[in-house]
């Protein structure tokens, strides 16, 4: 897959020249760009450090919590969570079926780990995909025999819903989430 073509794609020359000017300016000590960039760099160091301290405090404060919202469960495909609360996997609800096919609404989920285990077994979750879910229903395993990771741990999201995450019980703390109170 190396690029030994006769006409390899090339970087646009005018954009390249402009970029080179920017890079030289940024790296050259004493230029305005250099000074600005250093200020921004310091800010990026200070802000994450502050967030880390806040996160650690919050993590200690909310170390154990009850699940207060059982209408949905966050099923994680991997133990990753960004600062916006996004994670690889899916937020799932349990819908009530009715005989006449109308929408019966959602039902509370009592067993979050069992609920997410079912999603794993159906191959609705897959850690090898960047967003944690296969691209479409064609990938689903109707025999419910897709491997379920072990162990799965139940944590509590900031909004009070359960989060089921592959990993040992300490995975909650690592992601800055509370463990579910027993």
């Amino acid at each position: 897959m190396n690029t030994d073509d006769e006409n390899p794609p090339v970087f646009d020359e005018s954009r390249s020249a402009a970029l080179r000017v920017v890079l030289v300016d940024v790296a050259e000590i004493g230029t305005e760009q250099n000074r600005r960039f250093r200020v921004v760099q310091r800010a990026w160091t200070i802000v994450p450090a502050s967030l880390l301290i806040l996160g650690l405090s919050a993590g200690t404060f909310f170390a154990v919590q009850n699940v207060t919202d059982k209408n949905s469960v966050a099923c994680f495909a991997r133990a990753e969570l960004d600062w916006r609360g996004s994670f690889p996997g899916t937020t799932a609800v349990s819908l009530v079926g009715t005989r006449d096919g109308t929408d019966g609404g959602s039902a509370p989920i009592a067993d979050a780990i069992g609920f997410c285990s079912d999603l794993w077994a159906q191959h609705s979750l897959d850690a090898s995909y960047p967003n944690g879910t296969p691209p479409g229903p064609g990938y689903n395993d109707r025999t419910f025999s897709h491997p379920v990771p072990s162990p799965l741990t139940e944590c509590v999201m900031k909004n009070g819903t359960a989060a089921v995450i592959p990993g040992d019980p300490d995975v909650c703390g690592k992601l800055g989430l509370a463990s579910k109170s027993q």
């Binding site: 897959m1 970029l19 890079l23 000590i29 064609g138």
Partner: protein, 197 residues
């Protein structure tokens, strides 16, 4: 400060960059621009995106200069590994470097050649399938496949870059290849599955 000439090796240029010599950074850009750009083209969908990723890779090198690793005296492996991360997080990186990127002129509107420039391979449907499967892999798998297979770096070099043992590089590469093959199998099954529904 005196700049090195174009014959200076990466280690010499980089030490001058760290001392605040802009022209040395320019020389490193001249030397490695095309390889980083072509590597980035495999990871994103358009020519312009690959140019932006290249720009952000060099800005990252300057911003994170204390973390840059030279492998066998060359900075290229670090730049390529960083391109994988920047391409994956390019929205976040673009926010960080927006002001800098605004200084680089946007290309004139032109017909979209994005699919035809993808590594020169996209003209073949089979190659496009491989590339789509590659893009579905997670960052670690993309990184190890890109460095070991596409860029043909040795396991000890990649190990030095990523801070892991060569044996771990080989094991990670094997797993990544297996996942790529699995993804390709799934891709090839997708059409028939769709038709049965």
């Amino acid at each position: 400060m005196t700049s090195f000439d174009a014959d200076a090796n990466d280690a010499q240029l980089w030490s001058h960059v760290r001392a605040g010599d802009g022209e040395s950074f320019g020389l490193l850009f001249d030397r490695h621009r095309d390889r980083v750009f072509r590597y980035s083209l495999r990871l994103v969908r358009s020519h312009v995106d690959a140019e932006d990723v290249t720009a952000m890779v060099f800005l990252e090198a300057w911003r994170r200069q204390s973390r840059v690793r030279l492998v066998n005296g060359s900075i290229i492996a670090w730049l390529l590994a960083t391109a994988t991360n920047v391409a994956r997080n390019r929205l976040r990186s673009a926010v960080r470097y927006q002001r800098m990127l605004n200084k680089i002129p946007r290309p004139e509107p032109a017909p979209d050649h994005s699919n035809s420039v993808l590594d020169g391979l996209a003209v073949e449907p089979a190659h496009r399938t491989v590339q789509e499967a590659f893009r579905r892999l997670n960052r670690r798998d993309q990184e190890i496949l890109s460095l070991c297979v596409l860029e043909e770096l040795s396991a000890p070099d990649v190990g030095e870059l990523l801070g892991i043992a060569p044996g771990a590089v080989r094991a990670r590469l094997m797993r990544a290849k297996r996942r790529l093959i699995h993804t390709l199998d799934v891709e090839s099954l997708k059409e028939p599955l769709g038709e049965t529904r």
